[in-house]
Amino acid sequence: MIVLEQMASSVINLGIAMATPLALASLGEVYSERAGMINLGIEGIMLMGAFLGFHFTYVTGNLLVGYLMGIAVGLALGLLLAFMTVTLRVNQVIAGMGIYFFGFGLSDFLYKTLYGKEYVTIHKSIQIPIPGLSGIPVLGEGLFRQYPMVYLSYVLIPLMWYLLYNSRWGLWLRSVGENPKAADTMGVNVFRVKYLALMLGSSLAGLAGAFLCLGITGVFFENLTFGMGFIAIGLVYFGKWDPLRAWAGTLIFGFTWSISTTLQEFFIKAGYPGMTYFLLMLPYIAVIVALIAVSRGARAPKFLGIPYSRE
């Protein structure tokens, strides 16, 4: 029994941790898309966030600096994307892919140039138990002996869900995505809202990338996001542009991942190492299945992807 309990807590623990970078990234994407802006660059922003987070943590020895650099590069790339799509009215999908390729190529180039010859690890973020709560059987160890960034997501996601529907800012944001002309007439600065929404979404993606590296892998390597940035976009569709539902989608991925990696050890011990590769497909298949399951009835913000001009 105790073995089973420990196993359940460790599956929960890893599942939540793996879902967190996705959860932060898709929260940001919900905000961007609610303002009518598709951000396809989050994979590239996550990679840059991961690399700069890694680099600055290694150089300064301070995780906080790493996280802040992740946010900073997200802000910068979000600003660039906003300039291209809002001001120059470049097609959002194409411009977003540009940000992806830029982040993908540059992060790998910078890493190989600075660290190419050695294998460098950093002191990862550590899991901190919350007194009292971490004592709850099974769930406590899983939910409340976590990385600080996980606790941040516990607070941030419900808070931003609340603000999206219940604050003036949230109303402006949603009105810009639904009917920018009307919002403009009502005195909302459409361009500013779009800029801020993209920069907010991108900074969360940068933070997500930094956490992936500083919390989970502890090392940087080529393409370490495993396509998570694109999956975060898929989960926004799954979540029907709602922060809480998107969060639920990220948990599907996180838990399938954690169950697969736990089963992996069994199959290796049982003499079927080949199964590893199929198990690692499962979280991705789960996302496709989830998308198929909810494919009917999702309604995107009305002006998603359409550039606004004041004519």
């Binding site: 830029f102 982040g103 540059l106 140039t113 999956i231 569709y237 080949g274 497909m281 999702a298």
Partner: protein, 355 residues
């Protein structure tokens, strides 16, 4: 006071469309020079090694032609899907599926039938499997409205995991030492120039691009396809089945990516290993963008990227700079193409309003 930026379309002579990618390449290489200096490499030394290795000798040019072959095939396919608003990021996975299929079929047939038959069968099946693999994402997109960007990225991961498993299972060579690889293939594509490495796949790729051009611009089907891409509402009004075009475009691009995978395995490597999947399918998206989704313009565009891929190998061996320089350059090229397009095609006016 607020600042408004207005874009005014301007009359642009046709040759300016050639100027857009040229400007983008020059800007990207200029920033590349700064990156080199930052990495402690003399840019003049770096770029001269780069040019010598990719364009300096006839052999170097031939190597660049070999490198451009998969780009040309995959970008031609991607151009079709781009034209109807389908963003196929899955070329990488479709290419892997093509490579796997070709290897499997060739291993089964090369001892049994004539090389010609083995090559033909393995290539045809690679095309079919690449097309079917992509069509799955196409069906989800066309009939369930599921975003193809997400599904194709996911399917790239699945294809790569499948490749890793096969190389350690059914396709494993018993004599593989260093890394997992398949047994050698003997029924492979002939060389155009003996001893120079330029395989018949290059001619196939060029022929495919030219045929794609005819299909797109000289046939009734191509006309309907372009109408659908330019304005889906008009196409629906005219009674075209938009979903069929969407499905066709992604299956077609998958088929060409499958062909590209077959070409690399049968023309270049002559065995299967994980190193075939180095992100060529992602680069092909940039190749299609630079070629403005036009099959004939994609030919020089693919050549430029063949030059980059070939050149960075020499850049690395001459200066020690990492080969991932090519990826940084590619990202920059993509962004600069977008920006120079805006500034060439529009006059950007800054207006100050209000006080």
């Amino acid at each position: 006071m607020a600042i408004l930026i207005k874009l005014v379309e301007r009359e642009v002579p046709p040759y300016m469309f050639v100027a857009i990618p040229v400007i983008a390449f020059l800007l990207a290489f200029a920033i590349g020079a700064i990156l080199m200096m930052w990495a402690g490499v003399n840019p003049l030394l770096g770029y001269s090694a780069f040019l010598r290795g990719s364009l300096g000798t006839p052999a170097a040019v031939i190597d660049s032609l070999v490198r451009m072959t998969p780009f040309l095939l995959m970008a031609t396919g991607i151009a079709f899907s781009n034209r109807v608003g389908v963003l196929n990021i899955g070329a990488e996975g479709q290419y892997i599926i093509g490579a796997i299929t070709t290897t499997w079929v060739t291993l089964a047939l090369q001892q049994v039938v004539s090389p010609g038959l083995s090559i033909t069968a393995s290539i045809v099946l690679a095309i079919i499997m690449g097309g079917l693999w992509a069509a799955f994402a196409g069906v989800l997109k066309a009939y369930l409205g599921i975003n193809e960007i997400v599904t194709t990225v996911i399917m790239n991961w699945l294809a790569f995991k499948l490749l890793q498993w096969l190389l350690r299972g059914p396709l494993k060579s018993p004599t593989a030492q260093m890394w997992p690889m398949s047994p050698p293939l003997t029924a492979t594509l002939p060389y155009i120039i003996p001893g120079a490495g330029l395989h018949a796949g290059f001619l196939i790729a060029v022929a495919v691009a030219v045929m794609a051009y005819y299909l797109l611009f000289r046939t009734n089907f191509g006309f309907k396809f372009r109408v659908t891409g330019a304005n889906p509402e008009v196409a629906t009004y005219a009674g075209y089945d938009v979903r069929k075009f969407v499905l066709f475009s992604i299956a077609f691009s998958g088929a060409l990516a499958g062909l590209a995978g077959a070409g690399e395995v049968l023309g270049v490597f002559h065995f299967l290993y994980e190193g075939i999947a180095v992100g060529l399918g992602y680069t092909a998206i940039i190749v299609a963008l630079v070629g403005k989704n036009h099959p004939l313009a994609i030919i020089p565009s693919a050549f430029m990227f063949g030059v980059i891929y070939n050149g960075v190998v020499y850049l690395q061996s001459a200066t020690g700079l990492t080969y991932t320089f090519s990826k940084a350059i590619e990202g920059l090229i993509y962004l600069f193409v977008l920006l120079s397009e805006v500034f060439v095609l529009y006059r950007v006016k800054v207006i100050k309003v209000g006080e």
